[in-house]
């Protein structure tokens, strides 16, 4: 039977040093195990100066494509190099992450291989003959069950959809690590510089906990209290469209149909009334909390727990309660 491949995602520092693996890489391993049956789970680890990360992925086999030609990311260049290896080794399934990198690279690989690609999936499986997936459409207002009938079958997985695989060290004997020669990787669209935000908080699209603010926060200056709550929880700070359009918060923080669609373990909506476009973007969160002064706000119809009242009183009080909880541990 054919192997299941995952495309490992590497965390880079601003000078393009590979500092670790993105959490979604381990989530991809979990998802791959679920569809692999008895087949091998193989990871493709591409870049320059990345080989040291191979053992930590948790795959059975790691194809290490570590080459100066892959020092700078290029969607067309990397796709060509990875597709060439896939064309030769013929995996049955190739899984990537639904991230800025994965959404850019995997379609280009699929185009070269003529493969079907189910994008931004939240569940993967098989029906015995083909890869199956559940993927949100209309920002989550509907869910499509799909089958990918091509060989290979491809899919990208939304972060936080699966628990990360336990550390690779646990797998018996460790993975087989194979250095794969990198063929033609010359790309025409090339990254020249990476500019990382100085923030120590996680990004909205990857965070396990999100503290999000809406118009009810009253003004950009009041987001400081959401940042304090976020820091107490190790969370990202998100925002509603109204807040982003008013210029209070950057576009990259927007949750909703024209922003990020997210599925964190915990979503805390502060002063967000819950427009249909916003609810669509966060409704797949595992647990939703709402703080709002209006007991009739639509956000309460999707919240698991809510507090009705003034966010300026509730947020600091809740932050205090979280800190007290941590201090008591």
């Amino acid at each position: 039977m054919a192997d299941i491949w995952i495309l490992a995602e590497v965390q880079q520092s601003a000078d393009s040093t590979a500092v670790g693996l993105r959490r979604v890489t381990h989530e991809l391993v979990t998802a791959a195990r679920g569809v692999a049956g008895g087949n091998r789970v193989c990871a493709v680890l591409a870049g320059h100066g990345v080989a040291h990360l191979a053992g930590a992925i948790g795959a059975d086999t790691v194809y290490v494509m570590d080459d100066p030609a892959l020092a700078a990311y290029s969607p067309d260049g990397w796709a060509k190099a990875i597709a060439a290896v896939a064309a030769e080794r013929k995996p049955g399934i190739i899984l990537g992450a639904s991230t800025a990198r994965g959404r850019d690279l995997t379609p280009r690989i699929a185009a070269i291989l003529g493969a079907g690609l189910a994008s931004d999936c939240i569940e993967l499986g098989t029906d015995g003959t083909a890869l199956t997936a559940l993927r949100p459409m209309y920002a989550g207002k509907a869910l499509a069950r799909v089958r990918v009938t091509s060989q290979p079958a491809m899919a990208t997985l939304r972060p936080n959809s699966y628990a990360p695989a336990a550390d690779a060290g646990a797998s018996t004997g460790g993975p087989t690590i194979e250095a794969v020669p990198v063929g033609d990787a010359s790309g025409r669209a090339v990254v020249t510089r990476v500019e990382l935000t100085a923030s120590t908080r996680p990004d909205v699209s990857e965070a396990d906990i999100i503290v999000s603010g809406g118009r009810g926060m009253g003004g950009p200056e009041h987001f400081a209290m959401l940042e304090q709550l976020a820091d107490a929880l190790g969370a990202a700070v998100g925002a509603s469209r109204a807040v982003v359009d008013a210029g209070w918060r950057p576009h990259s923080d927007q949750v909703g149909q024209t922003g990020k669609t997210v599925s964190p373990s915990l979503y805390i909506a502060c002063g967000i009334s819950g427009a249909v476009q916003h609810l669509a973007g966060m409704k797949t969160s595992k647990l939703i909390i709402a703080f709002n002064k209006d007991a009739e706000a639509p956000i309460f119809s999707v919240a698991d727990y809510g507090i009705v009242g003034d966010v300026f009183e509730i947020v600091p009080a809740f932050t205090e309660a979280v800190r007290a909880l941590h201090a008591a541990r």
Binding site: G116, A189, T192, D304
Partner: protein, 259 residues
Amino acid sequence: MDIVVLIKQVPDTATRIQDRVKDGRVDLDGVTWVTSPYDEYAVEEALRLRELHGGTVTLLTLGPERAHGALKDMLALGADEAQAVWDPAFASLGTHARAEVLAAALRKLPHDLVLAGWKGVDGDEGLVPIYVAAALDYPHLSFVVGVEVEGRTITVRREIEGGKEHMTAELPALLTAQKGLNEVRYATLKGIMRVKSKTIPVWTAADLGIDPAALPAPAVEVTAIERPAERGGGRILDGSPADASRALARILHEEEKVI
């Protein structure tokens, strides 16, 4: 610099799609159709590049006659021309086939740059523009939030988790727009009046020299569309902000085990 912008018409984002899921499909009968919001950013950027560098902005859509409405809305913003592509044989194409049809149309439209929204906010696939770039053998630049063109070199900033990537490529290239790229202008009354009676030209499969039977079959089959599980309204915690907050923190820690 001549620019072609790919346009997709989608149901208005305020549509309660979940209420239209029936028998494994979405019933779109009677919805309000709009231009996919990310495509609007692409059009706006094309108009700004035309203001800076001269040239033309042409809109291209693959869709039936109702999609002409989206083209007219974007023409009213100031685009020069619009071209539709439609054929009854194009009604249920997969993503690779749609990209091939659009690429065939692009080969007939002179251009230096192709712009598109990064995804249509209906299927949320985010695939067709990149497949189009691959079909034309162009470099692509996605999730773009800043663009500069100097001579034949395009430099962009693209959004990544926790920051931005700066990328360059030589034209011709394809780029996809992310929110944050620009603020879309409003149509002027003059613009709206100008396009009101405009007839949108349509190319059929034959016009593009395409044999529909030779297009790639869909490789992603939709077996069913489901309504997401409704979340019941939850529990409201009473008491003072301090008491309710303490109770909530305890529940999240002890019962839900998320903090």
